[in-house]
Amino acid sequence: MRVWLTKAIVRRLLITQSIVAVIELMTGPAGSNSQPVYGFSHSFGESSSFFGLFRTQRWVTFFFVGLICWGVASFWISQGSRVRKSVHDALAFPRAATQKRPVRWGAMAVLLGFAIILPHVETAPFWQAAMVEQIAVYVLLAIGLNVVVGFAGLLDLGYVAFYAIGAYTTAWVTGALPTPALFHHALNPFFAIPVAIAIVMIAGIILGAPTLRLRGDYLAIVTLGFGEIITIFANNLYGITGGSLGSNQIPHPSIHLGPIKYIWGLAPVPYYYLALGFVVLFIIIFSLLERSRVGRAWTAIREDEVAAESVGINPLKYKVMAFAIGAASAGFAGVLTASQLIFIFPASFTLQFSINILVLVILGGMGSIAGVVFGAILIQTVTEFLFHSPPSGYQPQDLYIYLGALLVAMMIFRPSGLIPSKRRQREIRLSEAEHEGHLDEVLTGDDT
């Protein structure tokens, strides 16, 4: 008979249980100067409900969470090679001659270094706050929308909905909404990040699966509707979302891990670094995806959906993936905003917001990560500058006149954006040439 309780199994069980214990401590009550071990002594004994099913002590809840983690880990070890292989297959598509230098590491390092020292150079409180609330958030949203609009070529006019869902999820799991929290014990906003990202991705799938059969304008209208529905829900479901007043009890993120004890307070700079870390993470993930098998499928669907189907690409599947993946960064942006400002209300998630993000993506260069990041930083900096020190006679609402003029000028002189993606630039030129009607050789057939 096989020995069921092998050493490896016991070891895994101990490891997962200790990880869970650490998380338990981190999310538990904080200590103070007078009672430094308060968190340690109280976090285990406190009573909590087990996913709303029955009330028990916190350690029991976490013990079961640990058991689940152990099960997942064991499954991963026994079945993981298959999963790893398919992930590898998904990421390893471009095999031969594509781009030799996918990322210019030198330039990236210089820019990152500049971004790291920036808060020490620019110390004006207005700009430090703007860097997080206006620039970092918009960069996150722009790179996420770029996955949907730039990579997969789907026009999404309701992208702000994902941002709103991210923010409201944060409020929910931290116990700041009238509705009971997901876990009885309010989570630290830090742990809201994975929960919020997971929930917005699921929202992306729920929105995408039925609607992505539509094309072009029809899809734009449906996504527009989705954005409006989310705002209206947030406004009117008083008992769940707090209505038009929103929620204002969201805690700041904090870490209590042994000797490391840090609270993100009201000052914006720590949030800036948190956002910067995630911007870098999302940029890396999205550029890997763009160059992967998935990215190639997106390009194929964007260029010719019928041909893409003929080589065996399921368009719906990859479009839904684009929606879900693109939503992820908006989910994080939602957590960032909610936990920094500690209040959220529905009026901040308007259609205008979706359009603003789309403008950043178009100005920067659809499909080009460097472009949309640059576009978002540039436009938001100028906007904030005009807000901070307006020229004489300038009113805040004039901004849209100038933005509109800028868009028109760009469409004339640089239709594919400030830093265009090479492929998208050619696509736009090609479609222009087709409209002018002298590209007989290029015409790739019509839909008859």
């Binding site: 390009t299 260029e303 189907e309 003929s310 492929r423 050619r426 790739t444 057939g445």
Partner: protein, 236 residues
């Protein structure tokens, strides 16, 4: 290998195919002939899952594929070279070819070498984007892309459309080679003379029906075919 039984296709209230039946045997080239609007392209759209039949049955290697979706055909072993070529205009030649092997895991370098051996011109142009190729090169690329999926049945929709006669001859030569290397071919073509000289069997379609079918060499001598499709006047 492929068996179509009483397939009816409707576009809304208009019936495009009134119950057509035909078959394709392993290792042969079968051609569908017919005038514009006879239903040739609709037949291929149906066979590649772009338009499901309202009734009838399609069997591929004994398996019912009537309800199979367009993107699932490549994995089954049926690859479609669409009408108008439909290569990816902004991908390089090599990327286009690699897309053809999308459903297949593992290395494609062997298949790429094979394609470049079959179409040497594509090797010279492998780093150019599809839009910059000539029509004939695009057609070769479209065929190469379909072959990258290692199909057992290749569906070709009007491969000679808009091409110079010399290039058409080259492409038909290659289609013959594809058959000789073991891939079955179903060819829809307006250029009846070329198609019948190459094919083993042929079907003639008229108004959404299969009017008749025979061995290609018999069709070449068939008076009806000669009169209508080969442009010869019938005496007597």
């Amino acid at each position: 290998m492929l068996d179509v039984k009483d397939a009816v296709v409707r576009y809304g209230t208009i019936t495009a195919l009134h119950g057509i039946s035909f078959n394709v045997q392993q290792g042969e080239i079968v051609t569908l002939l017919g005038a514009n609007g006879a239903g040739k392209s609709t037949t291929l759209r149906m066979l590649s899952g772009l338009h499901a039949p309202a009734s009838g049955q399609i069997l591929f290697e004994g398996k019912d594929v009537t309800k199979t979706k367009a993107h699932e055909f490549a994995e089954l072993g049926i690859c479609h070279v669409p009408e108008g070529r439909r290569i990816f205009p902004q991908m390089t030649v090599q990327e286009n070819l690699e897309m053809g092997a999308f459903t297949r895991k593992g290395s494609t370098s062997e298949d790429l070498d094979k394609m470049y051996a079959t179409f040497p011109i594509l090797k010279d142009r492998r780093k150019q984007i599809g839009a910059n190729l000539s029509g004939g090169e695009q057609q070769m690329l479209a065929i190469g892309r379909a072959l990258m999926g290692r199909p057992r049945l290749l569906l070709l929709d009007e491969p000679s459309m808009g091409l110079a006669p010399m290039i058409v001859a080259t492409i038909f030569g290659i289609i013959g080679e594809i058959r000789d290397s073991g891939t079955t071919v179903l060819l829809v073509e307006q250029n009846a003379a070329h198609a019948l000289h190459l094919a083993d069997r042929g079907y003639v379609m008229e108004n959404g029906r299969i009017a008749f079918g025979d061995l290609a060499k018999n069709l070449l001598n068939d008076e009806r075919v000669r009169a209508v499709y080969l442009g010869e006047s019938v005496e007597g």
